[in-house]
């Protein structure tokens, strides 16, 4: 371990957790969010910790190390296509070479493109400290814009992504231009059927509220239904979202972004024959 006058460079995760528990530090992964402000800070540099840069498949569960940068994940065969599609649209090669998925999560922006996919796919996060670890569903991690339940002594150490049923997806990111565009609205939908009945619906909206939005209670309306039954329920289903989605004001008008959300949701159903 290297203790700097201002900052720490741990060599192992155990060292990192110990430093984290004993000092006021800011975890530093790729720096692509932190360095926008570049305030003098006592950083805990995580970027050389190989323990946080692994991708491991365990049956239907993919464990993604939060320290993996986008370039690593885009090149990894086990990373599902839907996640790759979101990551390839993030920034430019230079930013993707350093920006990490863990930083995207912990920065807690509602525009975080990888977080949107993790929401829809029911991912869980492992938070570790020297006292122990806890595993939380990604929705419970965020409490607001830039706010999470991460404690001062904890680090995000694993992202658990259930791989089943991610092949049939609908994803759309609306940005101002092709390269380097931050999401104005981003949407992902997953719909799986089993024996002719809908076994999973997930619809998540990014960049419109303080956190990613997902409404499990509305999704439940379609569960167990045939596509024909779902089609009959479609107006009622869309009406729920029409009522619930209230985009907060941004650079682009709330009305515009709401309309885009509704169009994408309807198109997602359409593309699944509903």
């Amino acid at each position: 371990m290297v203790t700097l006058r201002n900052g720490y460079i741990p060599e192992t995760l155990a060292e990192a957790l110990k430093i984290r528990s004993e000092n006021q530090v800011v975890p530093y992964a790729g720096g692509t969010d932190l360095m926008i402000k570049a305030q003098p800070s006592s950083y805990l540099f995580l970027n050389k910790l190989s323990a946080l840069q692994k991708v491991e498949q365990d049956g239907d569960m993919l464990h993604i190390g939060p320290g993996c940068n986008y370039t690593m994940l885009l090149n990894h065969p086990a990373v599902p296509k839907v996640l790759k599609e979101a990551m390839i649209r993030i920034a430019s090669p230079a930013t993707r070479n350093r920006g990490t998925i863990g930083g995207n999560i912990c920065n807690a922006s509602p525009k975080a493109d990888s977080v949107l996919i993790l929401y829809a796919s029911d991912a869980e996060l492992k938070l570790s400290s020297i006292a122990g670890e806890r595993i939380v569903p990604i929705e419970e991690f965020f409490t607001g814009r830039g706010k999470t339940i991460l404690r001062e002594d904890e680090l995000l150490t694993d992202i658990r992504l259930p791989l089943k049923g991610l092949d049939d997806y609908y994803y759309y990111k609306v940005g101002a231009r092709r390269a380097m565009a931050i999401s104005r609205v981003a949407f992902v939908g997953l719909l799986n059927t089993e024996n002719g009945k809908i076994s999973r619906v997930a619809a998540a909206f990014g960049a419109i509220s303080d956190t990613v939005l997902r409404f499990r209670e509305f999704e439940a309306m379609l569960l167990g239904k045939t596509l024909a039954e779902a089609t009959a329920l479609k107006p009622a289903f869309l009406a729920k979202y029409q009522e619930a989605i209230v985009p907060i004001r941004g650079r682009v008008s709330a009305e515009y972004r709401k309309q885009v959300c509704m169009n994408l949701l309807a198109d997602f159903l359409n593309s699944n024959g509903i």
Binding site: V2, T3, L4, R5, N6, G7, I9, Y28, G31, T32, L34, M35, I36, A38, Q39, P40, S41, S42, Y43, F45, N47, K48, T71, A91, S92, P93, A94, T95, N97, R98, A179, M180
Partner: protein, 158 residues
């Protein structure tokens, strides 16, 4: 406790005594006087500050000095001593791909990063490779042609 960060800079072992949370961009320009590394935005948007860290393109404005401890950092100053640079330089000249020149050090580093991972890029791959590098003068087409030409003329170098 130490105030020394060690890394390789343009092939030489070196150390810095700047604050570990300082931008690598500022350290390169102010402590090492490597002013080929340009500053256009300090927000990761323009690519003028591009360097190559451990073989990967990076915007040095978005990198804290402490994170390159033990790494290999290459700037345009080091790269310009290589044969690959010669090929890129000739091709950029051939297509008049340089106007004011401000974006060019970053563009060249992005070109190198692209070709070192993909020696025969398509036009689309070239455009993607330099998509984080803004140029307000050339309209990009001459730069794209220059990179294509360098990849052909430099056959075997990358």
């Amino acid at each position: 406790m130490t105030d020394t960060i060690r890394f390789r800079l343009n092939g030489e072992e070196t150390e810095s005594h700047s604050d570990p949370s300082a931008r690598l961009l500022d350290v390169l320009r102010e402590e090492f006087l490597l002013t080929g590394v340009k500053c256009g935005c300090k927000e990761g948007e323009c690519g003028a500050c591009s360097v190559i860290i451990d073989g990967q393109l990076a915007n040095s404005c978005m990198v804290a000095l402490g994170s390159v401890s033990g790494s290999d950092v290459m700037t345009i100053e080091g790269y310009s001593k290589t044969k690959r640079y010669q090929k890129l330089s000739e091709a950029y000249a051939e297509f008049s791909a340089v106007q004011c020149g401000f974006c060019i050090p970053g563009m060249v580093m992005a070109s190198e990063a692209l070709l070192s991972h993909n020696p025969h890029p398509t036009e689309e791959e070239i455009r993607e490779g330099i998509s984080g590098n803004l140029c307000r003068c050339t309209g990009y087409s001459a730069i794209v042609s220059a990179i294509k030409k360098a990849s052909e003329n430099g056959e075997g170098l990358w």
